[in-house]
Amino acid sequence: MNIKIEHLRKNFSDFTAVNDVSFTVSESEFVTLLGPSGSGKSTVLRLIAGLESPDSGIIEVNGEDVTRIPVQERKVGFVFQHYALFRHMSILDNIAFGLKVRGVKRSVREAKAKELLHLVGLSGLDRRMPTQLSGGQRQRVALARALAPEPGLLLLDEPFGALDARLRKELRSWLKKLHERIKLTTLLVTHDQEEALELSDKVLVMNQGRIEQEAAPQAIFDKPATEFVAAFVGETNRVEAIVQDGEVYWGPLRFGSYYVPDGSKVTVHFRPNDVYVASQPGEAHTAGVIRSILFLGATESLEIELDKGHTITAHVPTGVAAQSGFHLGKEVYVSVTRSHIFFSLGSA
């Protein structure tokens, strides 16, 4: 199934949840709506499912306008953050529910449900009740249940939001494999950037009801289109810099050319792992002093004071940090290998 969303808008009494959102999802594509809570991403998903109706805009599925047709006829599978399993039904009955309400014969729907239980790796649990399963297992059952009526589109609303970090990671790679196998068009809503970057063919970053950027995961990370995207996806050093002679300066650092009038203020974002740190001057030639070291496991986070009022964060692989003998108070040399400059007229 392919989807085309055009100028979707939804207001809730006093605030605009979705503000002129347009995008497309192609057949078999895995697309993620990424954004902070309240950014309207879940509302977009609910509008597509038909659980909410838009104030304006068009939702097209396979070229057909479905904006006003009821939920039941939309053929979407929806997975909720808190599983939403039917507590009083066995796992098998939960999965078979979508077939039961369509009048599918008991033997047929149970065979199908068992097949799906096998697909999600929970064979043999068919007689259990939802309360007897762990969170991860429940969410897999919820997924199997959503897949049972053979939807053309799978909608996942923060599906791993209620699980612990380790389990999230595990289920994430499991979901990726499952998607590669069944090739079902999927739309995921999450606030977890790792989840979005790892799973998706395409990421839509949302903020305040609008789409800030629509791009492949790599591009979202490497070429953020707006300041919001730069700050939201991945860690970043954010500094306010000044333009002089077409060059962007912030204290002793220079961030290359940017053609706005001299004296303009711009915002510069650069990632801590785009800061090159050396113990000898060379390629890196801006001097600074290490003010704090945080051990993060595979990397160390260094706070480096360049001069008074100009401190940056750099991430250095733990091995490199040990080799270079970085310690508190040591003088080092830095250069920023990649940065993103944003200029807004209002800030001039």
């Binding site: 499912a49 659980l51 939920v71 039941q72 979407v76 599978g77 929806f78 909720f80 808190h82 939403a84 399993l85 039917f86 507590r87 009083h88 066995s90 529910f97 979508g98 039961k100 309400v101 369509r102 007689r127 259990r128 009740m129 007897q132 919820a142 249940r145 959503a146 049972a148 009526p149």
Partner: protein, 276 residues
Amino acid sequence: MKDKSVIPGFGPTLGFTIFYLSILVVLPLSMLILKTTSLTWPAFWEAVASPRVLAAYRLSFGASLAAASINLVFGLLVAWVLVRYPFPGKGFIDMLIDLPFALPTAVAGIALTTAFSSGPIGRTLESMGINVAFTPLGIIVALTFIGLPFVVRTVQPVLKDLDRDVEEAAICLGANRWQTFINVILPVLLPAAFSGFAMAFARALGEYGSVVFIAGNLPMKTEITPLLIITKLEQYDYAGATAIATVMLFSSFAVLFLINRLSWWAHTQRSSKEAL
């Protein structure tokens, strides 16, 4: 039991529970049975199985069952409206539900009798050929009135706690409103509705004050069992009164036990699936 818990411990709490129940429930009820034993078997049989008494049992149980059933259906409906929809005056209506609890039953009886005999409702119904006052129908109306809060108040909190996403999951899976209600919502509400039903039924069986006014109290026709007991007492037939009371006691206990069993059975139907 060895685990330390917040409450003082199993021994003292169970001890207190048994003591409390003995003083308040078991002791008075055993006096009832004791008093009854002063009768010989034939006299006992005469007291509890005369046609007039049998008619009263039938009426009491029948009307109570009818009233509790009406409350089951409309209680669910009222609870639904109060939980699911916002509307002006909701708080006031919510308060009205408890009124039958607070009102002295005699006041309820007089009010209902006035409304259904000489009042506008009564006259309108009469013109349609329906007599409420001084008929079994009147008794059902009174018993429905006093039993109203039970189902509403047991179902309300359960309905409030019911997650919206469970219903949304059902409609996304293709279920229409009716299928969603029957398959997803009702099974969750049923245990609470059942216990509300049982309480409404038990209350109706014992009700006296609100019924005597509207019933008319014609022997064989509109005479409920509690009234019969009072009548016996007024005639100083204490043993006869307690004999009927004993029968009521055991049959009420049996009915409540049955209802409990039923909801327990409904529950284990699910647990037996869990065990597999």
